[in-house]
């Protein structure tokens, strides 16, 4: 298995906190991996260790069979030899050169102009990074990283510097750009929506440890762990219908009573009582068309593949 990133390393950050990452990513299966977990769980530290910006205390990192770090053999490749592009949270564009010069910083002018074109930045080429919007800065940073032809792309909370409307718009665009770039990527996020929208593969990190990894669609439970599991259904995967008998490909139908309808901009969050609480996220328009009101009887429809199992202990 050559096309893998294997990371088994430890770094103590304080007396009480140690990041201990045990991760094996199948790069061919997972163009975009999401490293998901709450703030302060050590995601950024792991990303920095992969980039070579932080030196682990022990362990090894092997990328496509080449050792990037090996404590036992005293190997610690500097960042520039790993060729792992790093996208910082605030993009870290060089303030003194123009957008075009930023993208061409570690690439030929031809490569840079091709990427400027592909990312729709040609019109901004002569501007300074401070004179463009956050979303544009993100595209410049991504173009700059791809121009250096990295073997792996590491993105630290790439959407968190954007305002809320831009963020939801950019989410899918970012995934499209990452796939078009053709470089395996690891994206750090603490936002579940973002994790699901961006990733093919997910690694969940809690308190400095990788708790589970797997494809985003089939969130798996740690094989070694026993104990209660949670069945998680994403609110946006729940559809609501009034017609109980209508034929549908989705086999899971649950009768429920509307407990509350909470408008959230273009969307509406519908809380259902199906014997347990189920939350559905529907567009405000469908909520209006279905005339959803408190106390109404409806049925919720869920595809089997939208049901994720998670160990009760790993996700709070």
């Amino acid at each position: 298995m050559a096309d893998q990133l294997i990371c088994q390393c430890r770094k103590r950050l304080s007396k009480a906190f140690e990041v201990e990452a045990d991760l094996c990513l199948p790069l061919h299966q997972a163009p975009v991996t999401v490293l998901f977990g709450p703030s302060g769980s050590g995601k950024t530290t792991l990303l920095r260790m992969l980039a070579g910006l932080e030196r682990p205390d022990a362990g090894s990192i092997v990328f496509r069979e080449s050792p990037w770090f090996d404590a036992a053999r005293a190997i610690h490749l500097p960042p520039r030899q790993r060729r792992a592009g790093f996208l910082f949270q605030d993009y870290a564009l060089f303030p003194h050169p123009t957008v075009a010069e930023n993208v061409a910083y570690a690439a030929s002018r031809e490569t840079a102009s091709k990427l400027l074109d592909a990312f729709g930045l040609t019109d901004l080429a002569a501007r300074k990074p401070r004179a463009i919007s956050g979303g544009q800065q993100q595209r410049v940073a991504l173009a700059r990283a791809l121009a250096a032809q990295p073997a792996l792309l590491l993105l630290d909370e790439p959407l968190s510097a954007l305002d809320a409307p831009t963020r939801s718009r950019t989410r899918y665009e970012l995934r499209r750009m990452l796939l078009a770039g053709g470089v395996p990527s690891i994206v750090v996020t603490h936002d579940r929506m973002e994790a699901v929208a961006l990733g093919d593969w997910m690694a969940v990190m809690v308190e400095g440890r990788i708790r589970q990894t797997g494809p985003v669609q089939i969130q798996c439970v740690d094989s070694g762990e026993t104990g209660p599991v949670l069945a998680c259904i994403r609110a946006e995967d729940v559809a609501i219908t009034r017609q109980m008998d209508r034929v549908s490909s989705a086999r899971n139908r649950l009768a429920g009573r509307v407990r509350a309808v909470i408008p959230e901009g273009a969307l509406a969050r519908v809380e259902l009582d199906c014997g347990f609480t189920l939350v559905a996220l529907v567009t405000a328009q469908s909520a209006a068309e279905l005339v959803l009101r408190e106390g109404e009887n409806v049925s919720a429809v869920v595809k089997a593949t939208s049901v994720h199992l998670a160990a009760h202990t790993s996700l709070q």
Partner: protein
Amino acid sequence: MDWQAIWLSVRLAASTTAILLALGLPIAYWLTFSPRRWKFLVEALVALPLVLPPTVLGFYLLLAMGPRSPLGALYARLTGGMLPFSFQGLLLASVLYSFPFTVQPVAAAFAGVDRKLIEASWCLGVSRAATFRRVVVPLSLPGIATGAILSFAHTLGEFGVVLMVGGNISGVTRTVSISIYDSVQALNYGAAWATSLFLLCVSFTVLALTYALQRRIWAVWPIN
């Protein structure tokens, strides 16, 4: 006015500044970015001329440069000349004496460069040396300019160290400040007046230029 002394001082200050920039930038870089625990010792050593009386520094330098010291002996073997009471000796003393005036503003400027910009450059496959040249130095230009100009002005006005190491040889080691002191000793107030005024004007102009220049650079590249 003692034009010979002024010319000598300007030459000494310019040479000192050039050497200090060449030496000071790498040392400031090391002081800013090295993870070594004992670097505070080097920091203290660099800052020493700020608090040490020039006579103390001059005295030790005189001993270190003397023909019986290893440094003096080596210099004599290489050039056939002697360091004390020569322009080269004066230059060496000036470099040491003005060291903190270059290193401290430059190190402060380096420390002000966003660490992530440096890391971003490394991750783009650019070497440490090239990153220093292409990111750290351009973003620290105001600090580097300040360091250079302060060193120049400080060397122009130095007195104690020159007196100890250089003495008072016309055209070789008699700098502006020594010349003024000489004039006053000889009760030649007219000459002292003229040279002092000249030094005052030069110093003021240089400093005013520095601050004006800094404001402009900062306006173009705001540092955070």
